[in-house]
Amino acid sequence: MSPSVPLQEMIRAIRSARTQCEERGVIQRECAAIRAQFRQADNGGRSHNLAKLLYVHMLGYPAHFGQMECVRMIASPRYSEKRVGYLGAMMLLDEKQDASLLITNSIKNDLSHSNQYVQSLALCTLACMGSAEMCRDLAPEIDRLLRASNSYIKKKAALCAVHIVRKVHDLGELFAPAARSLLAEKNHGVLHGAVVLIIELCERNPETLERFRKVLPDLVQIMKGLVLSGYSPEHDVAGISDPFLQVRILRLLRILGHNNEGASDAMNDLLAQVATNTDSTKTVGNAVLYETVLTVLDIKSESGLRVLAVNILGRFLLNNDRNIRYIAMTSLQKIVGTDHNAVQRHRGTIVDCLKDQDASVKRRALELSLALVSASNVRSMMKELLLFLSSCPAELKAHAASGIFNAAERYAPSQRWHIDTILHVLTTAGGDVRDETVPNLIQLITNASELHCYTVHKLYRALLTDISQVSVSNQSEIRFVTEDDVLDALETVLQSHMSGPLTACLSLHHFTTASRIRSIVSIYGSCIDVELQQRAVEYNALFKKYDHMRYATAR
C-alpha cells in the first residue's frame, strides 16, 4: 500500500495524467490509500485525507465512503478537523442521506461552543443542508443565538433562521419577535440578515406581514441613512453605500407596500429620492435603480413616481450594456398590461432589440413586441415580426409563430392581409407551427369565402416552392392555372413524404367536390400517417354527402 501523499501533490499527480485512463488509475490508488487511512486510528492527517477525497469527489468520482468520516471529523475537538468535516458534510451529505441525521447532535453541541468560529461552522452547515427534521430540532437554539450573541453570530443565525423557515414554514412565528429587534442593530451584516429573514416571514404569512408594516418607518430611516450618508469606506461599492443592503430593503418595502395605500404613501418620498440620487453609470447603481423600479411598479405608488420609474426603464433600454437592456425589457413586460401607453412610447427601441445578437435579448424583445401589437400599429409591427421570424433562433420559432397568429387574429385590418400573414408564416416556419393552431387556420380560410381563389393561388405557389425549391418566377402564370394543374400539384404534395399533414389538410380542404380529389383521398384512406388517414376518411364522407355542391375552382 503506497503511502498517502499530501493534498497538493495528489492534485498535481492527477493533473499530470495524460489520459482519462491514467487519471482514473491515480485516483483509484489514492482512494484506496484514503480508505485505508480512514480505517486506521487517529494519525494526525485525517483532515488532509478527507480534503483529498473531497477533491476527487469534485472531479466526479464516487466518494460516499467518506460520509462516515465526515461525521467523525465533525465530532472531533480539533478545529482543523471540524472545518474539513463540515465542508465534507455540505458536499457529501445532503438531507436525503441517512447519515446527515447523525451530525445533528454535533451541530447542536457546536452551536453552543465557546469559540465563535466553531459556532459559525455549525450554522453554515445547518443553513446549507439542514433537513426539516434537523431544523425543527435546532430551531430553539437558533432563536437563542438570534438574541444573545455577538454580531458575527447573529448575522449567521438570521440566515440560518431563513433556511429553517423555508424548510418548516410554521417555525416562522418563532423567529418573528427576534427578527424585529434585530432591525435596531447597527451592524450591516446583521441588518442584512434581519431584512432577509423578515422578507421570508412576510412572504409566507399575511398576518406577520401586517405586523411588520409597523416597522416601515425604521426601514425608511435605515434606507435614508444609506442613500444620503457620506462615503463609508467599509460598505462602499463604486459610490453606492452597501448596495446589497439597499436592494434587500427595497425588496422588503415592495412586499410591505403591495396592495396597501398607507404603506405605499409612507415610502413614496424615499423611493423618489433613491430613484433620483442613485448614480447610474455603473452596474451597481443600476442594480439599486432596478430594484427601486420594481418596487415602485409593484406598490400603489402615485402617478408621478410611476412615470419616473418607467422613464428609468426607458433609459435602461438605451444603455450600451446588454444586461441592462435585458432587465429593462423584463420589467416592462410586467407592466405592459397596466401601463400600456407608457410602454408603447418605447416601442421603437424594443423592436430594434429584435435584431440583437443575443438570444436572451431577442426572446424578451419578442415577448414585449407581441404584447405591444395594437390596432393602430399592427401593419408595421407585423412587418418587423415576420422579418424576425425568418431569422430567429430555432427555439423561438414556434412561440413567435403562434404569437403572430394570435396578434393577426386580433388586429387584422383585412382578411386578405390576414391570410397573407398566415401563409407567410407557414412558408417561413411551417414546420414549427404548433398543431393546435391548424383548426383555427382552416376555419379562417373557410370563412373568408370571397378570398378562396386568392387563397388557393397563394397556397399553390406555397406548395410549389415547398416541394420543388424553385420559386415561381412568373406571377402571370397563375392566371392560367387550371383545376387540373392545381390537382397535379396537390397530388405531388400528397405523394411527397416531406409534406406534413398540415399542408395536406389545407390543400385537401379546398377541393372538397372535385372528383379527382376523391380518388386521391380514397387512396389515402389507408395511408400510414394516421392523421392523413383520418382526414381522408372524413373528407370522403363529406364528398358523398355534399356531392351536389359544385365549387368554383381556380381560374
Binding site: 478545529y79 474539513v84 468560529y117 453554515c124 446549507c128 467599509e234 443592503l245 446588454r322 426572446r363
Partner: protein, 233 residues
C-alpha cells in the same frame, strides 16, 4: 441562490456549492447541461439566461466562469455584484488570484465562500469583515494543527484538553509541528473567562514531531486550565 458553479473554459468543475437538496445524479446532470449551455454563449452576450425554470447569472473572469442560479424574484444585477465581490475576496486572499490557486486550494475557496454567503444569501456586506474572519479562522486552524496532547502522569496516553490540574505534578506536552523552523511561544489560558497568559515559554522548533517535556509544576497547580494555545511569532 440555488447553486453556484465555477468551471474552466474546458468545462472542468472547480467549485460547486449547492443550496438545494438534489441527488448526486441530478447535480451531475444539471452541471453537465448548464456548463454546455454557458460555454456555447458568445463573448459579448447577455450575462443572464433562462434555463429550464431557473434564472442563471454568469460571468467570466480570465479562464473561469462563475455561474449562479437564482430565484425568480431575485435581482440579476445585484447577483453580478455578488459574483464580483466573491472574486474580489479570492483576489485579496490569494494575492492576484488565478485558476491554479483555486485548484490547489479548493478547500480555502469554499471556506471563503462560506464566510461570504450562508444558505445562498450574502451574510456580510463588508469586504474587510469577511477577510478578517477568514484570517482568524485560519489562525485558529494553524493553532490546533499544532496538536496538543496533554498527558497526566508519565506515559499515560489518555488525551486531555482541559480539566483541573491540581493533581498533576508533571505534564508532558507533545507538539506535532509542520516541517519548518520558527520560534514558538507557549501561552496558556488560566480559565474560560480570562485571556491573559499566566506564563510564557519561548522555544525553537526545528524538527517535526518534536517532543518537549516541560515541567509546569509551580505554574499549573491550583489552576483550572481549559485551553492551551501555541502560536507562532
Amino acid at each position: 441562490m440555488q447553486f453556484m458553479l465555477l468551471f474552466s473554459r474546458q468545462g472542468k468543475l472547480r467549485l460547486q456549492k449547492w443550496y438545494v437538496p438534489l441527488s448526486d445524479k441530478e447535480k451531475k446532470k444539471i452541471t453537465r447541461e448548464l456548463v454546455q449551455t454557458v460555454l456555447a454563449r458568445k463573448p459579448k452576450m447577455c450575462s443572464f439566461l433562462e434555463w429550464r425554470d431557473l434564472k442563471v447569472v454568469y460571468k467570466r473572469y480570465a479562464s473561469l466562469y462563475f455561474c449562479c442560479a437564482i430565484e425568480d424574484q431575485d435581482n440579476e444585477l445585484i447577483t453580478l455584484e455578488i459574483i464580483h465581490r466573491y472574486v474580489e475576496l479570492l483576489d485579496k486572499y490569494f494575492g492576484s488570484v488565478c485558476e491554479l490557486d483555486i485548484i490547489f486550494n479548493f478547500e480555502k475557496a469554499y471556506f471563503i465562500l462560506d464566510e461570504f454567503l450562508l444558505g445562498g444569501e450574502a451574510q456580510e456586506t463588508s469586504k474587510k469583515n469577511v477577510l478578517k474572519a477568514i484570517e482568524q479562522a485560519d489562525l485558529l486552524q494553524e493553532n490546533i494543527d499544532f496538536q496538543m496532547r496533554l498527558f497526566a502522569g508519565s506515559r499515560d496516553t489518555a488525551q486531555r484538553t482541559g480539566g483541573n490540574w491540581t493533581d498533576i505534578n508533571m505534564v508532558h506536552i507533545i507538539i506535532h509541528l509542520p516541517p519548518t523552523s520558527f520560534i514558538c511561544q507557549l501561552l496558556y489560558v488560566a480559565d474560560n473567562n480570562s485571556n491573559s497568559p499566566l506564563s510564557t515559554l519561548n522555544f525553537t522548533v526545528t524538527h517535526t514531531h518534536t517532543q518537549l517535556c516541560l515541567c509546569f509544576l509551580p505554574l499549573f497547580r491550583d489552576k483550572q486550565c481549559s485551553t492551551v494555545w501555541l502560536i507562532s511569532c
